[in-house]
């Protein structure tokens, strides 16, 4: 039984330790314990000893007080150490229910194996994701002791790490983690809990419905959005989700749109169609469009499609002098709604795009606005591309062939021109046909040498391109990768001995920044240009730090290995003169060549 007087005396001696034993003489709060301990001393002599020590403390002068106080305290703590109760009083008792079968517990990994992994899951430092990936390969997550930490890592600030744990590690472990996911699940509206909920669904937690019901009764939109997604797996929840599409909370509402599309039933799509057509809230349009885009719309396609046509008509009917805001709003709305046409594969859509591509009005209105930012254009072209991707190649090629992609007033079509080029290549168009189709676009600078370069690998580059490519080196040159591609195209198409190309290369040595000339150097060596090594050495000697990209490429390049060994001392000298590490690396590369 707990002797309360001991704990009370402990408080008082502690007080004296804090205040100082110099205040102990005649302390009345200590005084009152003497009769108590004398009384207790009748049963056990140790209490009598405490009482007499207390008396001595009260009588002690300042010099002796410290010794007396520590003597009492030591004795008191010794007695207290014999006193502890082994169970707490007045607490609720419950049955112990393990959440993991003891037979499935694995703790076979050592401290050295576990410690770095647990640190990576709990402490912020660099390279944590790599440690986890390595641990995953070594199957360290089979050890049950990692489970709890993995669940904690779902709330890690570094979202890539949390994603990896959620999408790769925990699904690999499976069911045994479920109990840890439920433990301390607080129904707080945090990303960590959303991840837990998603995993509980993935791992088929038996009581998930109860959890979801509770979430839906609370005000936690992030969790509710995930719960709506879970509910949509069951057709019985159709009506509930239809109702949630009108929820006050935006996140819940938008999750419901996605869920309606996922259910893909007549009723769910009818609701989604209604929400779209009657939508007054502009901020929800992207979510509605995204949901509509994810379904093939087996029902209500005509209604949805007509609405998109109306939006296009509204846009093209804009007055030329309509104010800018009105223009941007209508254009954005159109871009978003065109996104709905993804995954539909309906002939009417091709006709609709034809109207956009070949309709003079649409191009006119776009080109009349210089301020239609590239971002807005990109959203439109992305939406059209996503929709076209759902059609078979023949239809798409047919569509592109009849579209006036090379119209000079339609710069927004450049991206489609490149897509067309790739589609044509994929479908085995002959090199001549490719040239005939795309040469006009090349002339108008809608596509460039960089876009043509990939044709080399499939031998789809017609010789007729070469004169056009030589042309681009005329006039002022601001070097970029397109010129590198052009050189490689000429190299691939011209014979081994080609005076014109050799002349071009010599001409370029005086034109290009030596840091950017890696491709030129390689081709000079490959084509054995006279004095190529000396020319390159002289160019390289002018290298000073340039853009990181080119400088790094110069470091990495293996072209130095083909240099004669007698250039090593020359570069060494350059290194000493300029103190640049680059030249040391070049020396090493020249020397390491076999």
């Amino acid at each position: 039984m707990k002797i309360q007087a001991l704990y009370d005396l402990q408080q008082e001696t502690n007080r004296l330790f804090i205040a100082g034993s110099k205040f102990s003489k005649g302390d009345p709060r200590i005084q009152k314990f003497i009769p108590v301990f004398n009384k207790l001393g009748e049963k056990a002599p140790v209490f009598k000893k405490i009482a007499s020590d207390l008396e001595e403390l009260l009588d002690a002068d300042i010099q002796q007080s410290a010794e007396k106080l520590t003597a009492i305290s030591t004795l008191l703590y010794s007695v207290l150490y014999t006193q502890g109760e082994t169970v707490e009083a007045d607490v609720e008792e419950k049955i112990q229910q393990p959440t993991v079968d003891i037979n499935n517990v694995n703790t076979n990994h050592s401290y050295m194996q576990l410690k770095p992994v647990i640190e990576a899951l709990t402490v912020s430092s660099s390279g944590r994701l790599e440690v986890l990936k390595d641990a995953f390969e070594r199957k360290i997550f089979e050890d049950s002791r990692t489970f709890h930490y993995l669940v904690l890592a779902l709330g890690d600030k570094y979202s890539e790490l949390a994603d990896y744990v959620e999408k790769t590690v925990i699904p690999f472990i499976g069911k045994p983690v479920v109990s840890f996911l439920i433990q301390n699940f607080t129904f707080e509206d945090r990303a960590e809990n959303v991840r837990r909920l998603r995993l509980l669904n993935k791992l088929k937690y038996e009581k998930l419905q109860e959890t979801v019901d509770k979430i839906m009764s609370l005000s936690c939109p992030n969790l509710q959005a995930e719960a709506v997604n879970i509910l949509s797996d069951n057709i019985a929840n159709e009506q509930l989700i239809i109702e949630l599409a009108d929820d006050k909370n935006k996140q819940v509402r938008e999750a419901a749109y996605q869920a309606l599309a996922k259910m893909n039933t007549r009723n769910s799509l009818e609701k989604l169609k209604d929400v779209y057509i009657k939508n007054k809230n502009k901020t929800s349009l992207p979510a509605i469009a995204c949901a509509l885009a994810s379904t093939r719309l087996p029902f209500f396609f005509p209604e949805v499609f007509n609405q998109i046509i109306r939006t296009l008509d509204e846009f093209v009917s804009l007055e030329k002098d309509a104010d800018n805001k009105q223009f941007i709003d209508k254009f954005n709305k159109l871009s978003i709604e065109i996104g709905i046409l993804a995954n539909k594969n309906n002939e009417q859509i091709i006709e609709f795009f034809d109207k956009i591509f070949n309709g003079k009005k649409f191009s006119e209105i776009l080109s009349s606005r210089k301020n239609a930012s590239s971002y807005n254009i990109d959203s439109l072209t992305d939406a059209i591309s996503a929709s076209l991707d759902s059609f078979d190649n023949e239809k798409v090629l047919n569509f592109y062939t009849h579209s006036r992609l090379e119209m000079p007033d339609a710069a927004w079509k450049e991206v489609f021109c490149r897509k067309f080029l790739h589609k044509a290549s994929e479908n085995g168009y002959s090199k001549e046909k490719i040239y005939d189709l795309f040469a006009p676009a090349f002339d108008k600078k809608i596509i460039h040498a960089g876009d043509l370069h990939f044709l080399l690998s499939g031998n789809q580059l017609c010789q007729r391109w070469i004169p056009k490519i030589y042309e681009i080196f005329k006039g002022n040159i601001k070097w970029d990768y397109r010129f590198d591609c052009a050189l490689e195209i000429i190299d691939a198409c011209e014979p081994d001995r080609c005076e014109k190309f050799d002349e071009l290369m010599v001409y370029l040595t005086g034109k290009i920044n030596p840091t950017e000339a890696i491709v030129l150097y390689k081709l000079m060596i490959k084509r054995k240009l006279p004095d190529c090594f000396e020319t390159i050495y002289l160019m390289a000697s002018k290298v000073r730090t340039g853009s990181y990209y080119y400088y790094h490429k110069l470091h990495e390049s293996d072209l130095w290995k083909s240099f004669p060994k007698d250039y090593a001392p020359k570069f060494k000298e350059l290194s000493e003169q300029t103190n640049m590490e680059l030249f040391n690396i070049i020396v090493e590369k020249i020397q390491s060549a076999e």
Partner: protein
């Protein structure tokens, strides 16, 4: 050559070194990998930052004591290059057979010579245990005098603190006290100095005027000063008296035991079999070092021991850390330090053999588990009431059943005695939560290795779970 991920990690100084070695294999840094015809030696080249690659080798001519070599300048041994070489072998990289170089052959010869010399020294130690070297009384008395002078200074510091009160210790006083306690290092009383360092740490950790831990430490120091004074005075009067081995007073004062001394005092066991039941590594800020602590069971006596590997902060990178050990170690000479419930043990590295524990071993462990908690609690309380003993001994308990009381699990023995299972510190992931998730209500056939925590503030005598032992396996809740 038994080269597995586990054996490589055991050889590595720390987990980071092992990881770095593994990374080198991942980056394909090794070339010219070779193996001797008798498969006792592997070697190869590892590309480093310099022009020439590092040459590393692993010699397994003595399987228990592999010799790892590398010509890199790293202070850390074994370095990441040679660990990488082992990983390359473990991973199945191709090693072509080649002749062992003259250099390695001569090194092997030297090792053999060293081993012979070591064996001779051991024999000499054995002889010394039979006829111990006479103690130089004058030197001993001089040392004791110095120790007593140091203790006198320590006593003054302590009395001053108690007299003036803990609340009077502001930053300036605290700094002065720290400086004064540094002086104690000159008097062969490192143990007492560490006790003061612990006191300063406890003072720094005080929150909300909660001084119980500080006062507990003051009690410890006061008792230590009193007991060590009495003990040293006795030894001064009678220098022929052997050192006390029934308690840890020598070590608590500052003695660092040598294995020869332990042997001379008879504190060793021949052909012992021990099994590690739990392992942990903690940061001892007072001593400014990491401590790798293993809890071991003597399979003959059922006694629970501890191993402690101290790694000072400043050299932690270069000192090999201990690791979890899952096999039973068969040790020729097991040295046991003076102590109370869980004495510290040591053995010479490389002298042990190991075997996997089988069902019989696990059943044997169960037989050592305490079946009557009331008796165990009484024994523990009797021990910890001594201010100088370890307040948190480790015990092995046989379980009968369990239930939840409040926030904690409670375990029951077959007589109905109960014990609360509780973490030392509150944390989200802990041994207690791990145990709760696996412990069944009917716990018959299970044993729990646990650390006692008698909290004098709350009055709760609880146990902190370390490992759960079933008839099939040892479930480690820590490492």
């Amino acid at each position: 050559m038994n080269i597995t991920q586990k054996t490589i990690e055991e050889l590595a100084t720390n987990a980071k070194a092992a990881q770095n070695g593994r990374d080198l294999v991942g980056k394909n840094k090794f070339s010219n990998l070779r193996i001797s015809a008798d498969k006792t030696l592997i070697w190869g080249e590892c590309a480093g930052s310099g022009k020439a690659p590092y040459l590393c080798s692993a010699d397994y001519v003595d399987e228990c004591n592999p010799m790892l070599r590398c010509n890199c300048p790293s202070m850390q041994r074994p370095c990441k290059h040679v660990l990488g070489l082992l990983y390359a072998y473990e991973k199945g990289n191709v090693f072509t057979t080649a002749e062992i170089s003259e250099d390695i052959i001569s090194k092997r010869g030297k090792i053999e010579q060293r081993q012979q010399k070591k064996n001779q020294e051991k024999e000499q130690i054995r002889e010394k245990t039979v006829s111990p070297k006479a103690v130089n009384k004058n030197t001993l008395v001089k040392k004791i005098d110095a120790q007593l002078s140091g203790i006198e200074i320590a006593d003054k510091i302590m009395k001053n603190i108690v007299q003036q009160g803990l609340s009077s210790i502001d930053a300036k006083v605290f700094q002065t006290l720290r400086e004064q306690s540094k002086e104690l290092g000159n008097y062969y009383i490192a143990g007492i100095q560490n006790a003061f360092n612990n006191l300063w740490l406890e003072l720094e950790n005080v929150k909300n005027e909660e001084y119980t831990a500080v006062i507990d430490q003051i009690n410890y120091i006061s008792a230590l000063l009193r007991k060590s004074t009495e003990y040293l005075q006795k030894r001064r009067e009678n220098p022929d008296m052997p050192p006390e081995i029934s308690s840890a007073i020598e070590e608590q004062t500052g003695t660092v035991w040598k294995l020869t001394e332990l042997m001379q005092l008879g504190l060793w066991e021949e052909n012992a079999e021990i099994l590690q039941l739990s392992f942990n590594c903690y940061d001892n800020q007072a001593r400014r070092e990491y401590v790798d602590e293993g809890v071991w069971l003597n399979l003959k006596s059922g006694k629970i021991y501890k191993t402690k590997n101290y790694r000072p902060y400043r050299a932690a990178k270069y000192i090999k850390s201990d690791n979890s050990e899952f096999n039973i170690l068969q040790i020729k000479e097991l040295f046991i330090y003076p102590g109370d419930i869980n004495p510290r043990i040591r053995w010479e590295n490389g002298t042990e053999k190991s075997r996997r524990p089988d069902r019989n071993d696990l059943e044997k462990i169960q037989t050592f588990a305490a079946e009557n908690y009331a008796e165990t609690v009484k024994t523990v309380k009797n021990s910890i009431k001594n201010p100088l003993t370890d307040k948190r001994p480790v015990i092995l308990l046989s379980l009968h059943s369990s239930y939840i009381a409040g926030d904690h699990s409670v375990i029951k023995d077959r007589h109905g005695n109960k014990l609360t299972v509780c973490d030392m510190e509150k944390s989200e992931v802990s041994a207690e939560t791990q145990l709760k998730s696996i412990l069944p209500a009917d716990a018959r056939g299970l044993s729990l290795l646990a650390m006692v925590n008698n909290d004098v503030k709350t009055g709760l005598f609880s146990v902190y779970p370390l490992s759960l032992i079933t008839s099939e396996k040892i479930i480690r809740l820590l490492y």
